[in-house]
Symmetry: C2
Subunit: 345 residues, 2 copies
């Protein structure tokens, strides 16, 4: 039957309906599982199902989505997937979204506000049902628009407390406080705090936790030991900052890092300056990798639960979506603050 060959890959509902002498309405119902509720005879249902299989019919979701208004596709935006933290989030979100029946569209903003805006716009034009994003401070155009349009989105990791939106973050202040407190309990008195992107609320809160621990211990924070780094040039900036502290002979005996990215830099700095690495016992950081723990086994760290974070992210997103679908008049935003698992050494 050459006709079959010619039609390959472009079978439509109409084709099935024609071959079977029924209307495409019925075919649509049966294929979307509404056969029973629409009281289609078992026999007709079977004929349709079999013909669909025989012709290798696959529904065109574009057409379906144009009708139903939802694509069952979610957008995920991150600053950089090469950061193991975001890679881990992406992993869990992707797997769990699939499990809940959603496909994932992704985009890397490279910490660029315009890029982030472009991604949001593109995803919205492509009609994703909702967007999950770790956002920048500057790029507020499209975020404001999402709020204005009442478009569903969830922030993660980086967020705006003043914004009434869903978000899932970690206990930044508390965790940072605990890490710092632990270093203090070891007798360290001149503890430095290194942070990337200090303008982000997330990072600022980590700074506040650090400060609270110092204050509580009656220690005076030395402003010269609070270092803000530009993440896009962090390797150079970090080394420069370390060198400045070192050369200026500013007393320092402990380090809290807002990101694990700094740890290896620090270790290499210590090494190249003949300083004792101390197995990292004077270091604390967020989200250390296994390799890092091997390198500085006595470092303390806070494990960010990326698995829980990813799952909650999707759950909040999907719940929000079904709330709206059920016609809820008032959306209640979810603010989730996950605790970190502390590994204090």
């Amino acid at each position: 039957m050459p006709a079959l060959l010619i039609m390959k890959g472009k079978i439509t509902l109409q084709d099935i309906a024609d071959k079977l002498g029924v209307s495409k309405t019925v075919v649509s119902w049966v294929l979307s599982g509404q056969g029973d509720s629409k009281h289609i005879s078992k026999e007709t249902q079977t004929r349709i199902l079999e013909k669909a299989r025989e012709l290798n019919f696959t529904p065109n979701y574009l057409a379906r989505s144009l009708n139903t208004g939802n694509t069952h596709t979610l957008g995920l935006i991150f600053p950089s997937i090469s950061d193991p933290f975001y890679a881990s989030i992406a992993r869990h979100v992707s797997i769990y979204a699939n499990k809940r029946g959603y496909t994932l569209m992704v985009g890397s903003s490279r910490s660029d506000g315009n890029m982030e805006d472009a991604l949001i716009r593109m995803m919205r034009n492509k009609k994703v049902d909702g967007i999950m994003l770790a956002t920048m401070k500057r790029s507020r155009v499209e975020i404001d628009r999402m709020i204005e349009d009442n478009f569903p989105f969830v922030l993660y990791d980086r967020y705006y407390p003043e914004l009434d939106s869903n978000y899932v973050i970690i206990q930044n202040e508390e965790t940072s406080y605990q890490l710092t407190k632990h270093l203090i309990s070891k007798g360290l008195k001149n503890i430095a705090f290194f942070m990337a992107n200090a303008h982000l609320t997330t990072i600022h809160q980590r700074y506040l936790g650090y400060k609270r621990a110092l204050n509580e211990a009656g220690l005076e924070p030395n402003p010269e030991l609070v270092v803000s780094i530009n993440i896009s040039t962090y390797m150079d900036d970090f080394a420069a900052a370390m060198k400045y502290i070192h050369d200026s002979k500013i007393p320092v005996d402990g380090y809290v890092f807002s990101s694990a990215l700094f740890v290896l830099e620090a270790v290499e700095f210590f090494k190249s300056h003949g300083m004792d690495i101390q197995n990292g016992r004077h270091i604390a950081c967020f989200h250390a990798s296994r390799e890092l723990k091997y390198i500085v086994p006595e470092m303390s760290s806070a494990k960010i639960p990326t698995d829980k974070m990813g799952i909650h992210l999707v759950d909040i997103m999907v719940d929000d979506l079904s709330l709206r679908k059920s016609g809820a008049d008032v959306i209640h935003y979810v603010h989730e603050e996950l605790p970190c698992e502390l590994e204090l050494n």
Copy 2:
């Protein structure tokens, strides 16, 4: 103007056409940049553009795609995004695809053939223009269907040599040969080869390179030193294999690892058994991380050019797409084998 508020977020071409008293054909042309070629007066074009901006019109790409037959969305499938190698590929593909005007849909197969098939099916139903995937041996149903349907796809990293399809891989045999040869040049004679997923062509070729180097040096490969590991349980399996070799007192003085994942396991094994880690000078592996190089600075490794790989992947995909669009009758498949940068210590 309350009417404006009510319509928020659902402005269509028709709305613009109505307000301006023109047909939606013209609006469509102007907004898709065909204004000049269709000889629409400058004045009309300006009015349309301004009204579109004023109403904050955003085109519904679903509707457009249903017409044009392309979504400008690409699918990317990987076994696991938590493997830094695939994370790096994903990063470059995502950024470069955006640059070339495409959005990325992703999915993690978790090395599960059925999952991979499901992802391919889902992406095809959602009408991605093409799929880029690192595939499994077992899941051939949907791959065969893509070939049958002449659906555009590109394999990467893992591929089937017998399949006439696009692919971009690295020089597996040659790179493995060079790494092994280098260990031999250090005087090592009993070199083990550890591989995950030996059934994959990619991995088998690395084994062949290892073997060639041994043969060339007149060394007899010891079958007991060629270890195949199941990737999903690699931590336990690896330790068990190391222990077996160690306990059986099988002579071994060098290690080639098909994946960097094994290196830290090996180092920890050496350490816990009181063996000399030798700074890793008896180890060679694929795609070492910076942390790993710090831990075993004298290890040799091959750097997989994930940047080039990701870019080529997208280029091959997009070129294939435009070839088809231009109505090329014969598709010429691209087989790209990228060299690795060797770091021999």
